[in-house]
Amino acid sequence: MAEFKAQTPCAGLLPVTVGDLRLTEVVPGRMTSLAPYRGRVAALSEVMQAAHGVAWPEPGRITGQAAARALWFGREMALLIGPDSDESLAAHAALTDQTDAWAVVHLEGRQAAEVLARLCPLDLREAVFAPGHTARTDVAHMAGSVSRLGPQTWQIMVFRSMATTLVHEVEIAMARVAARQNSLM
């Protein structure tokens, strides 16, 4: 009898450490996309607050903390990360389970922003892209989501099918940033 074993998107690929830069896989609990029905954003936000303690995120913003987070995920779209979405949300939004659809990694280190700058066309300076900000963008030519969770902590998401490519691209960028650092010293 065949036995099936769940594998995470980046199984066998991460973690990777280069100098003080570290790339690790994150396996969040549940991920649900929330697409509010027309004119129901305010009502949805109230229900989200009551059920999960997170408000509806404005464009480019994250609400909540590690246990329950709402990530702005596109036009009139948010991603609830962490808890199973409460039934009460379904009255105001279309809910779609995305749990196994995305590869989620964290990039940490003093030069993490310099690594990301090689992969996506965003202005990543802290004055522009502060902790709590998020963007849908081009990550090494893949449709992705980039979020700043802390001054030196970034979350990168791409479709699960692109996990190997993402790790490969970030690893190369990490090595090049580190090599540049070493050559300057």
Binding site: G60, G74, R75, P121, D123, A135, R136, T137, D138, A143
Partner: protein
């Protein structure tokens, strides 16, 4: 080149997909010279154009971008849902 997406802010051209001229769709089903123009005929202005773009790698919005093909100046970006295509 950068475009100021009304939702995401100023973003690099790489995040956008170019569709073509932003034209008003003719009224009615009956064939008329306006339909010929809508489907086949395009101006190629040296100056201001009004084009449809999509913020494909960002929020996904369709945008109407006014820009100058001579100076490369971007004159304005509006959501297609609000500006009317």
């Amino acid at each position: 080149m950068r475009l100021g997406c009304p939702i995401c802010g100023e973003r690099d051209r790489r995040e956008f997909y170019y569709q073509g001229a932003a034209l008003a769709r003719p009224e009615g089903e009956a064939w008329a010279p306006e339909w010929d123009d809508y489907i086949h005929n395009r101006d190629n202005p040296a100056g201001v154009t009004r084009d449809l773009w999509q913020h494909e790698q960002g929020c996904g919005s369709w945008l109407i971008v006014a820009r100058n093909t001579v100076t490369h100046e971007v004159l304005g970006v509006a959501l297609a849902t609000e500006a009317g295509a």
